[in-house]
Subunit: 313 residues, 2 copies
Amino acid sequence: MKNVIGIDIGGTITKIGIVSKDANCLKKISFRTKEYIDFSSYIDKIHSSINKIASDNIEILGVGIGAPNASKNGTIETPANLNWSGNLNLVENLKKKINLPVFLSNDANCAAIGEMMYGNAKNLKDFIVITLGTGLGSGIVSNGKLVEGYDGFAAELGHFSINNSEGRLTGLGVKGGLEAYVSATGIKRTIMYMLSKYMNDSVFRGIAFKDLHGEDITKAAENNDFIAIKAYEYTGKILGKSLANFVTFSQPEAIILTGGLTNSGDWIMKPTKKSFNENLLPFYQNKVKILLSALKEKDSTILGSAALVWKNI
Amino acid sequence: MKNVIGIDIGGTITKIGIVSKDANCLKKISFRTKEYIDFSSYIDKIHSSINKIASDNIEILGVGIGAPNASKNGTIETPANLNWSGNLNLVENLKKKINLPVFLSNDANCAAIGEMMYGNAKNLKDFIVITLGTGLGSGIVSNGKLVEGYDGFAAELGHFSINNSEGRLTGLGVKGGLEAYVSATGIKRTIMYMLSKYMNDSVFRGIAFKDLHGEDITKAAENNDFIAIKAYEYTGKILGKSLANFVTFSQPEAIILTGGLTNSGDWIMKPTKKSFNENLLPFYQNKVKILLSALKEKDSTILGSAALVWKNI
């Protein structure tokens, strides 16, 4: 049977899996990205991991890789969340070790291709995927093709400036950058903001920023915690308004949300949809769906990277 | 010799021309759009105008039409600036009269295709055209193809909300909509805003809003009029910041500006480029050009509509 390899390079963990065309992750392996001080030892580790899971009786057609700051030329450019700096020639170096086609794209672009192959974007030609993890990533598909831009840095909507009065800075120093508000980190910052704005009782009066986790916020909201509920409302309001603005750009048929922040379900979805509908232009009404990803979160990044191969071979 | 017909349907004037493949408008004719109370008499007028300019010795391959609110299905949907309401079946009705292929797209999309065929976007696969006329129109090209969206209403960046503190309303009631600031009408509104904000002397203290024309603002700026200079700075600052935001979406290689407001040259271009560079993310620096259209403004809309035919046959 023919399969492909999907690799998700994250700042913390690197995941590698063998994926069948019907979206099953047959075998997988993972290791800590940060343990590899120099880039060539990291490439060696990827190589040995592939050999470990790819046994002789499995035919592998190619390798797909999702990574932050991936360019169109097979390189990772000055990644903020990885150990190594400069332009890292990932595809060329890996190809030297394994005799297979290797494809690289931005991790959120892989998520978009994964949704197109296995998820909620099957049969859609125009859609946007928003990944709400540590930061905010995005993959945009227009006319059935990824919007990659001149050299692969399109769809950086985490750095889209919402120009609001608060003016939070992102890691890159973008004032009002969307991911400073809408991401797992963003909502933690919003908890702090609400603690500054209101004096209501809250479980968060006793928890430090670094000890705060997304699940705590959902749990607190379920316990009717004023600060938690305000934080979800604020986040959803900003996300919904921004998504309505994005529609003026590419008029997607659907916007698909995925990643840790979406685990809170209706707490984030309800205020997001409300704000989206309030801000959507008349001629887009009832034409754009907001959906949650249908992919199992556990394997979704490996599946997305693997889909890159199926789309290209 | 083989030629095509380009039609530009404007709120005020309809222009029809015969265009050769090397971008020459061989013959043209125009009439007032608003004189035709019902849509079928307007179709008749287009038909008779085509017959008038297309003599027997010219081979016509097809008709391209640029119009506001054009959908993917050959219709104009509830146009705000035209006499007729509802869904106007333009392509089907015109095809019944003339035995030729007919193509329809949004007027700013036609401008983008025109730039790709004859103008500053030759050989570019990723670019944006912004038309600064009565309103603000836009055409976005990604992977060498128009970003049209689900049913043709992508690239409505005039309604993109810039979310600033002033909060002007567009004609559609969009708060902070870009075209309320950046367009021939927008800068007239900004003159009023500056007259409200400052008490400096200005030629505009003696001119009513409805008597104000774009050329007057350029002339006043050249005469060192404080209000006129402030208005260009304000407009350019908003446009430059918005264009930098658009880059996070599709990473164009160039953004091409065209239309009446660009006739002021450096008065609008200098503050726009300054603001653009200040707001552009580090990994886009020196990768995105801001250009003026190279097409002669006189015929550019006819050329753009004609290009629609060359692209599709």
